[in-house]
């Protein structure tokens, strides 16, 4: 009986010790991957384009495309053609730009072609500027921001602006003010604001509080780091970043499920690019200043 068991074991070992190779990529088709976020502040609107790849970790040369043609049709039906450019360190994307684009409220359409082989398109809506109101109270500033109907996500960031001197040259700089602090024993962690959902169905303004203690904390940090005097601190600048629906959904699908131990395989992929991947979105950035 022992001989039989040992024989069976050897047979099992003989047939099963090999490891299988297989590919997790299935039904691959070449596609365009497009990233364009229309930014009301930008002099140049930058688009990044890549080819969908059939394997991970390919050389950058395998990711970029030839014969790209990119058109943006503005709200008046005028076509704007993007031109090739290069950005330092960005070799895995085709980078193109269009300049002097005066963004107006309305719908913009994007068309991307790579020769006669690949094409993709999408639309996005750009809305009106937002109004920022600042009220001062005993211990904090209250910021109210008017809401745009197309805004899906909002991020309000505030910065302390200051001048510093490097090698005799005066440079303007700024440091972000934390929205709150987390204290755990002797550890203090600065917490900065993240994108939040702005519910377009509720017709009210967005309200953000900036505590004086956070401003004082940031000023002290600047003074300690750059060895400047209090008079060199000029102002506080408040930015409101308003994300359109597509950009917000893309970010949320990207940010989700960040637990370090959970392993999820069904990460959602949001894209509004027809026949492609990536996102065509719009961001509205408005700002105001206050004297500290």
């Amino acid at each position: 009986m022992i001989k039989k068991i040992v024989s069976i074991l050897f047979i099992i070992l003989f047939f099963t010790s090999c490891n299988d190779d297989f590919d997790i990529v299935k039904d691959y088709h070449e596609q365009l991957v497009v990233f364009l976020v229309l930014d009301n502040r930008a002099d140049k609107q930058i688009i990044k384009i890549q080819k969908l790849q059939n394997d991970v970790g390919l050389n950058d040369n395998n990711k970029v495309l030839k014969d790209l043609s990119v058109r943006l049709i503005d709200t008046y039906g005028v076509a704007h053609y993007f031109k090739d450019t290069v950005l330092n360190g960005v070799n895995n994307f085709n980078v193109l730009f269009v300049d002097s684009l005066d963004l107006k409220e309305g719908t913009y359409s994007l068309f991307v072609n790579s020769g006669n082989k690949l094409y993709a398109w999408s639309n996005v809506t750009v809305r009106a500027p937002q109004l920022i109101y600042v009220s001062s109270f005993n211990e904090y500033y209250k910021i109210n921001i008017s809401k745009s109907a197309s805004s899906r996500g909002v991020l309000v960031k505030s910065f302390v602006c200051f001048d510093r001197v490097d090698n005799g040259i005066t440079t303007s700089d700024m440091m972000e003010i934390p929205s709150k602090f987390s204290v755990n024993g002797t550890d203090t962690t600065e917490i900065y604001p993240a994108v939040e959902k702005s519910d377009y169905s509720e017709n009210k303004s967005i309200e953000v509080i900036i505590g004086y203690n956070a401003i004082v904390y940031t000023k002290q940090k600047i003074i300690n780091r750059y060895h400047i005097e209090s008079k060199d601190i000029k102002k506080i600048k408040i930015f409101s970043f308003s994300y359109d629906w597509n950009l917000y959904e893309y970010i949320m699908s990207y940010k989700g499920y960040s637990d370090p131990y959970s392993v999820r395989l069904d990460k959602p992929n949001y894209s509004n690019i027809i026949f492609g991947n990536g996102v065509f979105g719009a961001i509205r950035v408005d700002s105001t200043e206050i004297k500290p």
Partner: protein, 737 residues
């Protein structure tokens, strides 16, 4: 409540008026003489008559319909010397007997014959496997002896990896398994990310695994019922065990107390290297559990017991960016089992609690997550022994679960909720057993669910037929309808789910439902060889799952779908004095449809073969072997890769210079299958007696002997393959006093 009591009263009156024929009866209990522990499945026969029966899981038996006169009644159980008691029974009399059987030393015989004894006791059941302590001993173990690991190699049961004890029965999801421990409902019975169960195997007397054809006394789950009954403890003398294994140490004490018995075991982890092998990363995991039971005999072959189980796992990390985790289980319950005239009553009341907590320490403003479920469970059932082998069973149960959760979802919103639910069930079952070779169980169960002022009602017919045309072959068939109102939000794509929330099914959704059909053939090919075949078909409706088409955060999280599963199970068992072997093969399909998306769940493994064997070598050393071969689990393939940009922060020029990180675009859900899974584990075990009252148990196991690289999962973004357990050497040393 009033309606339920009225219905029960009517059933009892019907029983009295229709079936109460005055006849002679013998009832009693079978116990181990040394420990006082009741012996399940002992055979009791009235010599030179056709009368005989098997003791139930509590060692209780009842024989009805015996004529007047003197008889010899014999109780036998493998591992024990048989005992005969003479009785003189008079007309209309019920005699109570207590058999105290003297144990004889057995090792391998215990495995073979105990399982044979169980097979006979479950001959009227379908799709039930009873697992004994002896079978648990022979299975090679990676770190902890675990009842769930044994379950995973039963026919019809599949799992998704070495790392998890979660199991899937006949195409059902993991939350469709009911886990009862001494009649306490345990919701999250796992340690260490689900690597093994919280049940200490040394205190388990017997486990019944029902993969289908549930009796009407069970309700609330669609796919399986696992009924674990713990030992009562030694009521005659104090004894103890100390076990040391790879990852934990455990101690067990038992002995007489206040006229009853106590058994208590505690286990504590101490070694993290094993976890590192499981998870591929260093995890400061710490856990403990305590299982205790107090039992007191009461009149009429009865007993009163009080059980408690506590478990706690935690991961505490020093870095502020690393969250702390906590998982807790606690359950306490009482059971009363008593025989009054020709009734056998079983009443249980329990409270169970399960909690998971993630402390993010305020890092990046993330809110802590908490999820808890507490449950009060009352269950009362009665068996009434009628003419010859006919039995009428009836009872009712109340389940009062409360679920609370609070977490920050992927859109950054804090979601909080607290839900109270009431669920009650009533059942009646008639077992027709008076015709030799034919058994028919007919029953119904009605469930009522109350939640948020809504009431739902479910009606569940159940029928089971067994027919033995030849002494060596039995045909079986069953139909049952089951409903489930408590589900988990766990996603089957969560490879390691950390935060599983139980929720009641609320309007606009309906309770999940399953209609199940089973056919089976069981044969004894020789004295040593038996074979069984089962085929099943299950149709699921109202299955709640993640909304696969969810694109926007305002879309509903869930969608209601349908499903079906079907398959064939073959089970071959050989046993002689030296060798115990089982081989099973399962061929199965599981399918789901939700929002017009058709897919098969991840655990739909087409072919599964399991071999479990134990061979007795010279010097009473046991050679144990387990080999598993299974189709790979399903996974969602990648359509292609691109470098995905993080577009959140536009306060700097990050957007322009971001080169992105690799991201895989997913294709159709679960459209591809991983390569075959197979693994061979072998081990040796030996028990040494040191002096008279000390025993040393030694066990060494070689896990994944040929170091098969079974794929656990593939990181879709990087293409990295994460493998299951590599070759491992494990050991176990136990000292018994």
């Amino acid at each position: 409540m009033k309606n339920i009591l009225k219905i029960l009263l009517i059933i009892a009156l019907l029983k009295v008026t229709l079936f109460c024929i005055e006849s002679n009866s013998i009832k009693g209990i079978v116990k181990d003489k040394q420990t006082g522990e009741t012996i399940p499945f002992a055979t009791i026969i009235v010599e030179n008559t056709k009368y005989g029966t098997y003791a139930n899981t509590n060692g209780f038996f009842f024989i009805k319909g015996i004529s007047d006169g003197k008889f010899k009644v014999t109780a036998t159980a493998v591992g024990y010397n048989k005992k005969t008691i003479e009785v003189d029974i008079k007309k209309g009399e019920t005699i109570s007997l207590s058999f105290e059987l003297e144990p004889i030393p057995i090792e391998l015989q215990g495995v073979t014959k105990v399982s044979e004894r169980m097979k006979e006791a479950y001959k009227n059941e379908i799709s039930v496997q009873a697992l004994s302590q002896q079978e648990l001993k022979i299975i090679p173990s990676t770190s902890e002896k675990d009842i769930f690991k044994l379950i995973q190699i039963l026919p019809g049961v599949s799992s998704t990896g070495d790392v998890t004890s979660q199991f899937y029965v006949r195409g059902g999801s993991g939350d469709q398994n009911m886990i009862l421990y001494d009649n306490m409902m345990i919701y999250s019975p796992f340690h260490a990310f689900g690597m093994f169960s919280i049940f200490n195997t040394d205190v388990i007397k017997i486990s019944e695994m029902m993969t289908g054809g549930f009796s009407p006394e069970y309700g609330g789950r669609l796919s399986s019922v696992m009924n674990i009954i713990s030992k009562d403890g030694n009521s005659n003398k104090y004894s103890g065990k100390l076990n040391i294994g790879n990852s934990s140490a455990q101690a067990l004490v038992e002995g007489p107390i206040l006229g009853g018995s106590l058994i208590s075991s505690a286990r504590k982890s101490y070694f993290n290297n094993v976890f590192k092998k499981f998870l591929g990363k260093n995890v400061p995991l710490d856990f403990y559990d305590i299982n205790s039971k107090l039992t007191f005999p009461i009149a009429n072959e009865g007993k009163f017991s009080f059980s408690a189980i506590i478990s706690r796992d935690n991961i505490n990390q020093s870095a502020i960016s690393s969250p702390n985790y906590l998982w807790q289980n606690a359950a306490v319950g009482t059971n009363v089992q008593v025989s009054i005239e020709d009734y056998y009553l079983d009443v249980a009341l329990s409270f169970s609690f399960s909690k998971a907590y993630v402390d993010y320490k305020g890092f990046q403003g993330r809110q802590n997550s908490e999820n808890r479920i507490s449950n009060i469970f009352f269950d009362a059932k009665a068996e009434s022994y009628l003419f010859e082998k006919d039995i009428l069973s009836y009872g009712f149960s109340f389940i009062l679960p409360r679920t609370e959760y609070s977490f920050q979802n992927s859109s950054g919103l804090v979601v909080k909720n607290k839900l109270d639910q009431q669920e009650s069930g009533i059942f009646v079952k008639y077992r027709f057993g008076r015709i030799e070779g034919l058994g028919v169980d007919v029953g119904i169960r009605s469930n009522f669910e109350f939640i948020a002022e809504n009431i739902s009602y479910a009606f569940e017919p159940r029928i089971k037929v067994t027919y033995q045309p030849f002494h060596f072959a039995t045909l079986k068939a069953s139909y049952g309808r089951y409903h489930q109102t408590m589900i988990t939000t766990s996603n089957e794509d969560d490879i390691i789910p950390l935060f599983e929330i139980w929720l009641p099914v609320e309007k606009p959704y309906y309770p999940e439902r399953c209609d199940e059909y089973i056919g089976a053939l069981e044969t004894d090919l020789s004295d040593n060889l038996s074979f069984s075949f089962q085929g099943y078909f299950k149709r699921f409706t109202n299955l709640l799952g993640y909304n696969l088409k969810k694109k926007n955060s305002s879309d509903p999280d869930f969608s209601s779908g349908t499903g079906r599963s079907y398959g064939y199970e073959f089970f071959l068992k050989y046993q002689d004095e030296s060798l115990y072997t089982w081989i099973n093969y399962t061929l199965s399909w599981a399918k789901r449809k939700s929002d017009r998306v058709k897919y098969s769940p991840k655990y739909d493994r087409r072919h599964i073969i399991n071999i479990l064997s134990s061979y007795r070598l010279p010097y009473d050393i046991h050679f144990n072997l387990k080999w598993e071969l299974a189709s790979g689990t399903l996974f969602t393939p990648v359509l292609g890769y691109f470098d995905r940009l993080d577009l959140e922060d536009f306060s700097s020029n990050n957007y322009y210079y971001d080169t992105g990180s690799s991201y895989g675009v997913l294709g159709s859900k679960n459209a591809s299958r991983l390569p075959w899974y197979h693994r061979l584990d072998i081990g040796l075990s030996k028990s040494l007696t040191i002096y008279n009252s000390f025993a040393l148990n030694l066990k060494v196991d070689l896990i994944n002997l040929y170091d098969r690289k079974n794929i656990f999962y593939i990181n879709k973004d990087t293409g990295e393959k994460v493998y299951m357990l590599p070759f491992m050497f494990t050991f176990f040393v136990g000292l018994e006093i």
